[in-house]
Symmetry: C2
Subunit: 420 residues, 2 copies
């Protein structure tokens, strides 16, 4: 009961603050973001000390090395946080523009005004830099923010939050503008997810199980960032050098991220020519290949493991790749729409019709012709920064940047119109 | 178990059909819509007969006269259904356009392609014409549709659906394109609401309790159409003739709809001059006024009932109006944001600053200066038709027309780009 009161109070404060945030001038927001960046750099020692506490506990709890790496802050990583605050200060402010203004026959002037969503709650795991990233993006887009980080990073999160919050208060922002849930009691999340009258949208950032749980329990709209099972399809009309360079890049350049390729699909007519070369390059880079029967036959000297059904929808996030030979572009598209996760998928082809067909029929947030899936991110798409990659279908798909953290309202300018 | 299998089969058929619908040419869609309109007119007798059955049962069950009126079809109402199918055929097709195409420094051409959402389920009550309206809008926007109407209108809905579905099949659409759940078992709705892997969005149309239940149970995003507690605020700088005409129109022209005014707010400096005149006009039209203390004092000869706290968030949908005198525009805005339902709210003023402040600060789907709230609908906004008025904050606010039944995907045209 006490917990519920406390959480609802935070949510209500956030709601109360959101009206003020919406109306802040862009130059005021930018100057606060720059002051926040400076404060982060100045508080480096304090933040790293807090992070040390989290790391000690993590080691005691024997968290896995990748988990500990995600948790760990270094001087460089703290500087990167400050840089990203400054980068967001430089982005265009989406708030307040009027779009699609039309004059109706009765003289009414009707347009869509871009406005903040209102109150955004972000529920996240491990990486403490998410704290600063979310503050930057939500504040610049005029939204109040409620942060709920993972218990493993609680000291780092509190330290970062306090630095940013102090700047915000000093610059006159209402207390509810930026909030951090300090308790690590998991019930706090359940309370947030049921505050549908106060919170406007929930953004979970973390592993699949976190997102699934949030989506299942939430009464508030959730912008979901599920896993990325991304494909590259090498068409029979592909330029094979380009196909090799794109496939290699999509798999190897950074295998641990959601826009890396997990499955390579190859048209049967080019499989025998294409597969041995790319397989040797990938194996040379340490990639384990799991292939369909035909792939294994073509690569038989290389002792390829057989892909199981489960491989086709597995996000390895690692130097592992499933490979399938397909009969046609249609089979490739069907495979992607069946096993993919609506994230990022690419075709390599010189055939115009196939390129357009792939763009038309693949139901993913980002569909590529002749480029690596690795480009799906806010910066590469020209958004400057992102809060994640949506695999949802409504409101926002693909990289969620400042614009996607807004909504609109209709504004209508009349001069006495009444309805007949 | 059998029911679940049956419903999931329908949903999967809908999903399978959605790829085909997305790629239909606009002219093909329009010609099918016109054929549907003709079939409705031709099947008038059959539809009216089925409606007779529903009406007989409704009378036996002693449904209220307004409920029976909503259920009742007449020759004129059947013709109106056909007209609305033809009207949707005339609207611009939003699908397939490329928006915001940008060329990135590395040569990638990135744009947003407008695409259907996928599978839409509409859960609705009583009015059988909703069946035809939803088919028209969802089909034109390239979405598969699953209809689940109220049990009281089941025979009418089946008749209308069969007429439309027969045209669709004859013209070669896949069976899953348009679907009607024929069972009146309420468990069918629960099964739909949990099919989050298949259905992309749920649109409930009906009373508040239906929408609340759907929102609470659904694991699928819901576009909600809650009640409309709409306000007109008469500012101290209002032109009082205009204020009178707008207030009268917003209340009286059609009181039973969601965009009608439920609360009139009047600035204290003009209350004594404005209220007696408008009150007499409203009372003359049969309106019952419930006023705050000051309103009652000003209108003391007219025996005004005292407004209770509950009046401020009641959607009367009737010739009833709550009236409050406020100290300032700020109090008016606070009242609207506290008691309103983010639907439609208007200010009447000749003061530029107040007009802009109202547009900025009122957090509603449609915010008006000097016009009646009654204009919030798809036709008046130039959308041609609508499936409802969203009171949600993300994806769609205000009238939900063809454009709001779409989403986008990023399409990226490359020529071999890889990420460094």
């Amino acid at each position: 009961m006490k917990l519920k009161k406390e959480i609802i109070k935070i949510a209500k404060d956030a709601k109360a603050a959101s009206g003020t945030l919406e109306l802040l001038k862009t130059e005021v927001k930018n100057s606060i973001l720059k002051a926040m960046a400076a404060a982060i750099v100045k508080s480096k020692v304090r933040i790293l000390k807090a992070n040390e506490k989290d790391l000690r506990r993590a080691k005691k709890k024997k968290l896995s090395p990748p988990m500990i790496d995600r948790l760990k802050l270094t001087e460089k990583r703290v500087n990167a946080m400050a840089d990203s605050l400054k980068a967001v200060a430089k982005l265009d402010d989406p708030i307040g523009t009027l779009e699609k203004l039309v004059k109706r026959p009765n003289g009414l002037l009707i347009g869509k005004k871009r406005v903040p969503i209102g109150v955004i709650a972000v529920i996240y795991e491990s990486r403490p830099n998410v704290t600063a990233d979310c503050v930057a993006l939500c504040f610049k887009s005029g939204n109040s923010l409620i942060l709920r980080g993972g218990s493993e990073a609680i000291n780092s999160n509190i330290a970062i939050f306090e630095v940013l919050s102090k700047v915000a208060l000093k610059r006159g922002l209402p207390r509810g503008a930026i909030n951090l849930i300090r308790t690590t009691d998991r019930k706090a999340v359940d309370i947030l997810l049921r505050a549908e009258a106060i919170i406007d949208v929930i953004i979970p950032r973390g592993g699949e199980s976190l997102i699934k749980e949030v989506a299942r329990k939430s009464r508030i709209p959730v912008i979901k960032h599920y896993k990325g099972v991304c494909h590259v399809y090498v068409d029979e009309y592909a330029e094979l050098n380009m196909a090799e360079s794109i496939s290699y890049n999509a798999k190897v350049q950074r295998p641990g991220v959601c826009n890396a390729m997990e499955t390579l699909l190859v048209h049967k007519d080019v499989a025998a020519r294409f597969l041995p070369g790319i397989a040797d390059k990938l194996i040379g880079a340490g990639v384990e290949i799991r292939g369909c029967a035909l792939t294994r036959r073509i690569l038989k000297k290389r002792n390829i493991v057989a892909a199981k059904e489960a491989d086709w929808n597995t996000e390895y996030l690692d130097l592992t790749l499933s490979v399938k030979v397909v009969d046609s572009i249609i089979e490739a598209i069907r495979h992607i729409n069946k096993y993919g996760t609506s994230h990022s998928d690419a075709i390599v082809t010189e055939n115009y019709k196939h390129a357009m067909e792939f763009l038309d029929r693949v139901d993913s947030g980002a569909v590529y012709v002749n480029a690596s899936t690795r480009f799906t991110d806010g910066y590469e798409f020209g958004k400057g920064a992102e809060i994640g990659i949506s695999t949802d279908k409504i409101h926002a798909r693909g990289p969620v940047g400042l614009e996607e953290l807004t909504t609109y309202k209709y504004v209508i300018f009349g001069n006495g119109q009444i309805r007949e």
